[in-house]
Symmetry: C2
Subunit: 396 residues, 2 copies
């Protein structure tokens, strides 16, 4: 495939993402759903016009990593720490409950064997941080306390989800689980999260220092772009989701991040602003690829719509996926509406859920009907919450 053929695909993806985003905005709907719809329409579900090629996957992955970098960049670490315990509560209960609900009901009610049941449970554990953040951003609620709690919880969720996936993968292959391996992954991730922000901060300091004396233009955007990709790659290497690397890099470069041991890395507000200004165009250009790619990766045609069993399975898992997250948010000491907002914000399942379902299908653990029902659950959890969140915020 020649570059100019890709140009047309890139154009179609970006243009339809923008078009549907703007139409949704006009209709007072979340623009991010417009971008997902653009993917559904272009993809195998409807037109079958655009294929989710390696190039699009790469652009999508860069997009979500840059978005998470920006999320990190705009995260107020002090507030995240204040939200810390609340996030941890929401993350753990919102992870454990759907997993247990999903596994138990699949095993006892639907009669799946234990590995299949755990895959179903696993699919509905992890919140799609990308979609959740976009919805909150679209509503200008990213900076609220609820927003901080949700972002923190979604990040933890992703980490827990990936550890679970590693465990299940081993379990389905070897028939047993090595806790050594799982704890190794866990320790790596914790270590990454302790070391990464400090390392990123030091690198950022060097960039800044060199930036002031350097004459070749473009040092700032290229080196920050490199830094983000490097941390994403590093996160993958230690077994964590790549987006976590982007988030950690963003957190370290955020203007409100101070190193605890008070090193002379005083924050330069002007520099931080310049950094944000120069990286944002990249974020804006790459991010739509991710949401369109999520739409492209779903195939609504694969779903046997006339099979009642599929609807029963879908309905049951969907309800478990929703109430698991909402109950999870009920443990935090906020007014009830805020708890509901946090709970509903945690409902969207996206990339990690799709990775679970996809791996289950590829390894023949999930049959086609179960796979379809799970994809349907992911679609429904992704599409409905933005409306509910918007409704819950309507009096603000």
């Amino acid at each position: 495939m020649q570059p100019h053929d890709f140009f047309l695909i890139i154009l179609i993806v970006l243009f339809s993402a923008r078009l549907f985003g703007e139409i949704f905005r006009k209709l007072s709907l979340p623009p991010v759903l417009g971008e997902l719809l653009a993917g559904l329409i272009l993809g195998p579900s409807f037109l079958g016009f655009v294929e989710l090629s390696d190039v699009l996957k790469l652009l999508a992955e860069i997009g979500i990593i840059l978005l998470l970098f920006e999320v990190g960049l705009e995260t107020d670490l002090k507030r995240l720490m204040k939200a810390g315990w609340l996030s941890i509560i929401v993350a753990i209960s919102g992870f454990v409950l759907p997993f247990i609900f999903g596994t138990v009901v699949s095993y006892y009610f639907f009669g799946f064997d234990i590995v299949v049941s755990m895959f179903i449970g696993g699919t509905i554990t992890a919140t799609s941080i990308g979609i959740t953040v976009r919805v909150l951003q679209d509503l200008n609620k990213r900076d609220s306390l609820e927003g901080e709690i949700v972002v923190g919880a979604a990040v933890l969720d992703d980490i827990l989800g990936v550890i679970l996936l590693a465990l299940l993968y081993e379990f389905s292959n070897a028939g047993e689980v090595s806790l050594t391996n799982a704890s190794k992954v866990f320790i790596f991730i914790i270590g990454f999260f302790l070391v990464a922000p400090v390392a990123a901060k030091v690198i950022a300091y060097l960039i800044k220092k060199y930036h002031d004396t350097n004459k070749i233009p473009g040092l700032l955007p290229t080196s920050v772009f490199m830094l983000v990709l490097f941390f994403a790659w590093l996160a993958h290497k230690v077994g964590a989701p790549e987006i976590i690397g982007g988030f950690a890099a963003g957190l370290a470069l955020s203007r409100r991040f101070f190193l605890p041991f008070g090193m002379a890395l005083a924050n330069d507000v002007k520099f931080s602003q310049k950094l944000e200004d120069e990286i944002k165009p990249l974020v804006y250009v790459f991010t739509p690829f991710f949401f369109v790619a999520v739409g492209l990766s779903m195939n609504l045609k694969e779903i046997a719509w006339d099979e009642p069993y599929i609807w029963l399975l879908f309905g049951t898992i969907f309800i478990l996926a929703v109430i698991g997250k909402i109950i999870g948010a009920m443990f935090i000491p906020l007014e009830i509406k805020k708890r509901l907002i946090v709970g509903v914000s945690m409902v969207p399942r996206g990339e990690v859920g799709l990775i679970f379902a996809e791996m289950g299908r590829v390894t023949n653990i999930l049959d086609n009907v179960t796979y379809a029902a799970l994809v349907l659950v992911i679609i429904a959890t992704t599409i409905l919450p933005p409306f509910v969140i918007k409704y819950l915020y309507k009096d603000d």
Copy 2:
């Protein structure tokens, strides 16, 4: 290949481009040569570490198109028009002379048949506008009269080169040339250049209008990115080089571009500035891929260095390639040093030359030795002029 594998390649490419660029700058050498060297080192010539994959080709192509967009954006159309006749003289004579010299010497002196001779002549016709512009930019001479002449001439050169390639391709296939086809391509390109800037200006006006009222962030960088890709794709469709599309889009959006018939598209300096600020990070991130890719696409190992014939062929063609361009610049009424600067600036052959040589090799028109000699000519014409230009400017 998974996205995270690409991350590493992207990182290596960007980092080594920057590293060698900075080292060359420190040594008072043109940074762009550092980026080329990074490509040579990473590619099959030395380490064989990075392969010029479809993804890298795409990123490189986007990079050169964005660079040409920026060149267009910074072009002062009034001055380009003033330079116009001079550019046309330099372009035509700098195109015709190397082609005639190369063809005649290959045919009579080296005894190649006529198609091979014309391919050799064709390979040395077109100036690498990308490399030339980067060298002038690095020396802060992009805005000089010489700079304008060279940019205008290089753009025309590329167009002529592509028309010649289309003709030669037909000639080598059919054994005869249809002038109808060639003139069709020519008319398309002229039409594109008349229509494209106006169309781009109107689109830019719509973007600007919508930008002021729109609430979804990122409209400006995404739509300008789309506009540039669209014009590149369109240029390709009418048979012109894609980079010409990027250049036309940039020209239309430049703050000094006024529509001749005085439509109410008054230029908004603040908006132009914002546009430049938001598009530059994209230019900086993508452009290094192009120069590294040029290095990656060359394989110095393919050259049979111990074959005297190759050196004779290389030396002869190289001299013809240099003097053809320099004589071409002697027809313009400037002081002799400026003529020399213009001539030497036109010497670098890059992408179009490589496309000629590559097509000649793939179609078996060029044997391996001739191909190697031509690649060597392209390398030498690319590497030497920056030093000479720098030397010529040393008293300024």
